[in-house]
Subunit: 146 residues, 10 copies
C-alpha cells in the first residue's frame, strides 16, 4: 500500500470514528494543526506518536507507518480553493508591509517556514461575531554576510 | 502628482526622518502594520489620520491626501521575494490542514481577508533565539445556503 | 464510494428521471442554483435536505450522504468553456467600473462571494428575444481599519 | 493627446468636481455602470452624449472626443484585485451550475456578454446589513446548427 | 458507458466503415464540419439526426444517444498541434486588422462564435496548387448601450 | 523616427482624413485586410505601394518608408480582447474537426498561414440580420516524407 | 489496441531486437530521423513501408497499421528535457539573427516546418572531439501579398 | 550610451549603408550568422573585430565597444514570431526522435549549444523551389558518471 | 514491467533493507549522489554496476536492467517542494552575481550541467550547528566564436 | 537618485576602473560573490563596508549609501539566460536525489538559503580542462514538530 492510499485510509477512519483533530492532537500529544498536517502528508509523526495514532483510530501497523515517512511537499500554493485563496490574498495585500516591519524590527532576513509553529483558535469579536485567530511563530533568520 | 509618486515621497520622508512604523502608528493612532499597508498603497487613512501623518512627517496637504484615495490592490501573490515566498509556502504546506480544522470548528466557510486585522511581534524562543510572531484575526464567514 | 463518484451517480439519476433543477429545488426546499451547485460538489446540503434529495431521486443513503460532505472547491476559473468564459469576460470588461461604483456607494471593500446568493431567470427582451437574467446578492464587507 | 491620457483627465475632473457616477449617468442619459465603463475605456459614448459629458465636467472638445473612439478591451480577467477576484471566484464556484441551469432552461448556447446590460444597487439584508445586488441581463444565443 | 467512450466508439466505427465526413454529412442531413464537431463532442445532433447517424454507422441506440447530450467545450485553444496552431497564428497576425475592418463596417461589437457556421473546401490556386478555403459566417453582435 | 511611431502617425492620418480601409485598399491597389495589416505592422507594402499610400494620406517620405520594413510579428494570440477571443474560441471548438476534415480531403499536412489570403465581408442572414463573412484561403502544405 | 499502445509495442520490439534506427531506415527505405519520428507518433509511414517495418521487427498487421494513422502532434516544445532544451535555447539565442539573415537572403517569410527534412550525423571536430551535425532543409515560404 | 542603444545605432548604420550580413561577415572575418548574433547582442566580437566593424560601418569607438561587452542572453524562446515559431515546432515534432538517434549514435548526453556553430544557406529544391538549409554543429557532451 | 515501475521496486527494496545511499554508493562503486540520481531515473548505471546494485538489494535481473536505460529527464524545476525551492531561490538571488564572477574568471560561457559532478556533505558550523555543504564541479564551456 | 540608478553607477565605475570582484572583495573585506550580490542589489553592505567600497571606486557618499538599503529580492528564477538556466537544470536533474540524501543524513528539513554562503573557484580537471567549482554552505533547518 503506498503512502497516499494509507493516508486516505487514516482520514476515512477519523471521519468514521467522528474523532476531531482536537481530540486526535491530545491522543497523539501534538498540536492539532500539526496532526492535521501529518494526515495531509505535509508533516510526519515519530514511531511512538504513530503508535498512539494507530491506537486512537484502530489502524493496522502498516497503515500507521505511512505517517512516519519523509513528506514530499508539492502542494502548489496557487489555488482557487476559496479558503486557501484568502490566505494568499493576505500575503498579496500585506506582504510588503510585513517585510518593511520585519526590516525595522530585525534587519534583513526572513521568518522561517521550517522552524515554525502555527495555531488556530475560535474567538469572539466586538459585535459578538465568530472570528478565526491564526498565530504563526517562526524563527527569525538573518541573511548571513560572508 | 499621482498616487504612486505621492506614496514614494511619503516613504522617502519616513526614511529621512528615521521614523519607525511603531512611532508612526502611535502618531496616527493605528496599528503599525495598518500604517505600513497604507504607505504601500494597500489600505487608506481617513482625512483626520492623514492630517496626523502629514504633521508627523512634514508633508504638504496634496501629498498627504494620497493616502486617503481608494486603493486598487493588484500586487500579485506569486512572488520570488524570499520574505513573501515563505508566507506563501506556509499556505501550501498548512492550507489544507487549516481548512480541515476550520471545517471542524466552524463548518463550511472562510476566514475573511477584509474584516481582518494583523499583528507582528518580536518574541524570544526557548533557545533564546529571536522569533517572529504574526497574529491574524479574521471574521468567520459561513457559506450562505439559499 | 468516494465523493466524486457518488455525485456522478446522483447526476445520472437526475437525467434518467428527467427531473429538472426547478423541480429538484422545490423537492429539497432550496433555490435551484444552490441545488445544482450541490450536485456539482460546490455546495452542501444538510442531512434533512439530503434525505429529501434521496427520496426525490431514489438514492441509497450512502450516495445521498455525499452531498453533505464539506466541499473542496478547486474548479479553476480560467476556462475555455464558452458559457463560463462569457461570465469571466464580463468581469474583465466591467470589473473596474463595478469597483468604482462600489467605492462610490459603499466605500472601500468587496461584495462577499460567501455570504452570497444567486438567481437565474428566463426573461423576454424588447425585441421579443429570450434573455438570461442573473441576479447576484452578496453582503458588503468594508475593509477593516485597525 | 492619446486616449489613455484623455480618459485620465476625465476621471480626474470627475473626482475634482466630486460628481458621482449616479449624477453623471443622469447628465449623460445612460446607466451609471455604462458611464463608468466608458470612463474606464471599455465602452463608448456617442457624440451627443460625449457633449453632455463635456458640459457636466467642463471638458475641452478634444478631451471629450476620446470617449467616442472604438474601445480596445484588453483588461485581462486574471486579477489579484480583491474586488474583481470575488466576481471571478463566483464564476469558478457557480459556473458549471449556471450552465446546467441554462441548458435546462434554454438548450445549448451562451448568455451574450455583448448584447448585455448590468446594474448595481445597494440593498438591505434580513439582518439589516448592507448588501450589493448586481443584475446581469444578456441575450440568449443558441448554438447554431448547420 | 460515458460520453467520451461512446464518442470514441463512433469515431472507430467511422474509420472501420471508411465513411467520409462528406458522406456522413449527407446521411445525417448536416454540414460535414458540423458532423465532425459532433463526433468530437463539440456540437450535438438532435434525436432524429442521431438516429440517422446510428443507421449509417450501425450503432447501438445507447451509443448513438451520446451525440445528443449537451457538450461541455473545454478544449483549450493554446495548442502545439501544427494544424491548429496555424489558425491561431492567423488570429495573432490579422486579428487587430480584422477588428479595425469590423469597426469600419459595423461599428463596435464582435462576430458571434455561437450563431456561427463554417465551411471547408478544396480549391485550386493560380499555380495549380491545392488550397484550403475556410469560410466563417457569424452574426454581428453590436455592443449594447444601456 | 522608429517604426512603431511612424505607423502611429499613419493611423492617425487615416482617422483624421476619415479614409476607410476600403478606400485605402483601392488607392494602394491591395485588399483592404492586407492594407490594415500593413498599418498594424504585420505586413509590408512595396516601395511603389508605399508611395501611393503616402499620396493618399499626405505622408512625408520618411513616414511612408516605415510600411516597407520587414515586419517582426510578435502580437501574441492569447488575448482577452473580445473580438479576437471569439476567433480563438472558434479554433478551440472547431479545430480538431477541421483537421479531421483536412486529413480526409488532403492527407497529412496543414493550411499555410503564410501563402495565405483573407477577406472580410458584410452579408445579410436569413432573418435579415447583419453577418460577418470571413474567407481564408491558404495553400495546402503536405508533410514531406523523407 | 489504440495507437499509443501499438507504438509502445513497436518501440519495445526494436529494443528487444537491438535494431538501430539506421538499420530500420534502410529496411523501410526512409531517412532514420523520419522513421524515429514515425515510431514516436509524429510522422506516418505508408501501407507498404508499414509492411516492411512489420517484417523487420516481426509485428502483427494490427500493430503495424498504427504507424499509418494520421498523427496528432501535441508534444509541447516547452520542455525541461536537457537534450531538447538545448535546441530551444539555440532558437532563443540565434532566432532573431536567422530571421535577419533570411530577410536578407529571401525577403519576408518563413522556412516551412512541413515541407521539411532533417538529418543527423556524427562528425569529428578540429580537436578530434565527437560533434553532432544537424541539417535542416525547409522550403522557403514568402508571405503572400494580396 | 548603454549597450541596447549602441546596438540599435549599429543596426541602423548597417541598413543605412545597405551592407549585407554576408559583406559584414567578410569585413569582420567571421560567419555572417555570428555577426548577426553580435549585432543582436547575443554574441560578442573581440576588440580587433570590433575595430573592423567600426571601419566597415563608420562607427565611433564608443559605439563599436558595445559589441565587445559580455552578453546577457535573456531572449525567451516562447515566441509568436512566425519565423522563430517554426523552429520551435521542429523541436516539438522531431525532438524526441533526435534524442533517440543521439542515444543510438553517442550514448547518453546532449549536443552543446555553447561549443556550437551554425550556418544558413539558400539552396534549390527538386521542383526548382527556393529552400533554406540550416546546419548546426555542436560538440557532443556525454553525461559524466561520478 | 516499465521503467517507472522498476525504479519504484528498487527504491522500495532499498527502504526495506534500510540501506543508505552511502552504503549503496560503495557497493556500486559510485558517488552516492549519482546513485540516488540513478534510482530517481535521472542518471544510468552501466550493466556491471547494475549487477552490483542487484546483488546489494536482491533484485531480479529484469528489474536491475531498468537503471541502465537512457534517462528521459523531464522533472520540471519549477517546484513548490520546500527543499528544492531553496536551491532555486539561490539561483534567483545569486545567479547574476555568479555569471558576473564567471565572466571575470573565464570570459563568456557557462558551467556545464552535463560534464558535471556533485557532492553533499554534513559539516559543523562555527556555532556548532549542522550545515549542508554542496559542491558542484562542472566543466567550463566557452561560447564558440565562428 | 533611486537605488537601481545608484547601483548602475557603481557597476559602471567598477568597469571603468577595471577592478575585479576579487580585488573589490579584498578592499571591502568580504567574499567576492557577496560583493557581486551587493552590486546586483541582492545583498547589502554595512555603512563601514560601504565606505570602503566608496573609497575603492571613488563614489560619492550618496551613491555609496545605496548598497546599505534593505534589498527587495524579486529576480525570478525562471530564466532563459543560458548561464543561470544550467544551474536550474541541475536542480531539476539532481533535486530529488539531494533531498533523498539530506533525509538520510539529517532527517526532514531543508538547507537554509538565508544562513548561507557561497564560493566560486576556477579549478583544473583531469584532462587539464578549466572547471568551475561552486561550493554552497547552508545551515540545516529541521522541520519543527509542535
Amino acid at each position: 500500500m503506498d503512502r497516499v492510499e494509507a493516508l486516505g485510509v487514516i482520514r476515512s477512519k477519523r471521519q468514521e470514528k467522528k474523532m476531531t483533530f482536537q481530540a486526535l492532537g491530545q491522543a497523539v500529544g501534538r498540536n492539532p494543526v500539526y496532526v492535521a498536517a501529518a494526515l495531509n502528508g505535509q508533516q510526519r509523526l515519530g514511531p511512538e506518536e504513530a503508535g498512539k495514532l494507530a491506537k486512537a483510530l484502530g489502524l493496522t501497523p502498516e497503515v500507521a507507518e505511512a505517517v512516519s515517512a519523509f513528506p514530499v511537499r508539492t502542494d502548489f500554493p496557487i489555488t482557487t480553493d476559496p479558503f486557501k485563496y484568502r490566505l494568499m490574498e493576505i500575503v498579496g495585500v500585506y506582504g510588503d508591509s510585513l517585510r518593511d516591519m520585519a526590516n525595522e524590527m530585525f534587519g534583513d532576513g526572513i521568518m522561517s517556514a521550517i522552524d515554525f509553529t502555527m495555531d488556530m483558535e475560535k474567538v469572539t469579536g466586538a459585535q459578538g461575531e465568530a472570528r478565526v485567530k491564526i498565530t504563526m511563530n517562526g524563527k527569525w533568520l538573518p541573511y548571513k554576510e560572508f
